[in-house]
Amino acid sequence: MGSITLENVRKSFGSADIIQGASLEIEDGSFVVFVGPSGCGKTTLLRLIAGLEDVTSGQIRIDGADVTDVPPAKRGLSMVFQSYALYPHMSVRGNIAFGLKMAGMPKGEIDRKVEGAASILNLTPYLERKPRDLSGGQRQRVAIGRAIVREPKAFLFDEPLSNLDAALRVQMRQEVTRLQKQLATTAVYVTHDQVEAMTMADRIVVLNAGRIEQYGSPLELYEHPANLFVAGFIGSPKMNLIGREVAGQFGAATIGVRPEHITVARDGEGWEGTVGVAEHLGSDTFIYVDVPQVGTLTARTVGELGIRVGERVRLRPDQRRIHRFDTEGRALAA
């Protein structure tokens, strides 16, 4: 079991309010990702759940029990740090076994569990090595091994993949997701990478300046962003946000259209503009079109589209996929 409840949790450092009243319900067995720009408080929120920081006010409950004043060692959670934070003076075996030793488990059982965890993570040949003799990916695995071997109520991940190279990151991303599903243990995962958030999460918490902007499944966030911040943050390239008269025509203060929901044509209906920049990624082409009265719009088209810089094109937004926002930036009902 491992459900986590935050109730109006606040955290201030001096006069700076880092977390301004976060309430959240994390269901047992779910994979929840905290995502947001740097400085939004996502790591602080994770550390509050871990108990590594004290809350200023509010309550944290794990499986219904109030743990607000319980030290980290007694919360039954395990954490994977961005820096891996392995014990440099212990072997891989010692690192993974440390938590079990602290719990006073008999030696035979520790060995059995450590070897089990090592085989899941392909670490068996490295058990007697020191962390300094391992590659980045292997260290990451040891850190994960240390977390899973204790069979915690929940895993806390603090940007665990940000030190790995791009290829390894994709591979580890899948491994972590697969492992979490296999163990069916609650996971809270902090990242600033929205691709990680979208691909790994059952539910995403979007944080901005210490506030929870939206909490929902990846597709909910993509299809129904609650406000301008979420609309701009989720999705790559960013959603086009258009204000002024054009938005007025739709009865909103601002409208948003995702680049992939714009059809590009040489003639016909739609906004007319000049192609300023075209980025060819092979599979896709992103074109940036300067439209008078509207601004620069991004459109995502197929890779083979033969459009060149300086050409005049027509942009047609998919009418059913236009997001409307009021003057406060909140989404208006469709």
């Binding site: 871990a50 108990g51 590594l52 980290p72 395990s78 820096s83 014990y87 003076h89």
Partner: protein, 276 residues
Amino acid sequence: MARKVTGAKTAIWTAAAWLVGFIIFFPILWMMLTSFKTELDAFSTPPSFLFFHWTTENYATVQERSDYTLHAMNSIITAGGSTLIAMAIAIPAAWAMAFAPTKRTKDILLWMLSTKMMPAVGVLVPIYLIYRDFGLLDTRIGLIVVLCLGNLPIVIWMLFTYFKEIPKDILEAARMDGATITKELLFVLTPMALPGIASTLLLNVILAWNEAFWTLNLSTSAAAPLTTFIASYSSPEGLFWAKLSAASTLAIAPILILGWFSQKQLVRGLTFGAVK
């Protein structure tokens, strides 16, 4: 930046370095040489450097006249004991200051050091009276307490700088792994800080071993360490250079040997933090 190093330059600098080294070592060498002279040779002008009548009689006399073993034992117990107690207090203190600092931590560190800014003699009378009233004069316990308190600020400072270098994440990982504070200190922090702790320990033993002000003032015979033993040879009977030298050589020998074998640790300790 690379620069051209010629053979001649290297030779000159090497010679200069050896010269400086020799000058620094000279007093100790002179003391050792004097300890093998007769009292007459020890006084002669011009002094003879190597060609004198070599004798070990001073060592024999010193052994006869005073109980070297007792004083050496006292030095070992007081220097060792005060160091161990200081470490037991300083490790948790430095841990708290390095990993859970508050706004006042820097002030506390400076305030602790400020106790070393006053000459010790300033508090001699009150401490002497306190020791007299508590029956601590000329006891090993008394010396251990005063040496421990005297060196504590330096020990905490040194450990603090070492601990600062240890990533906080690793200690937090231990906490998440279910380690209590005692276990975190014992199984994670201490092994990681071992080089720093070792050099602090060593430096503190040397400081306590050579501490002469308090040991001379607060002990006379039963608890007197080697410093008192040396001082007893610059006595009212007049100066006996050769015997004083023999006593001094005997007194510094153990610490010299200890220092020699732990040179690497010591140098690391003294220059720690200067360059990464």
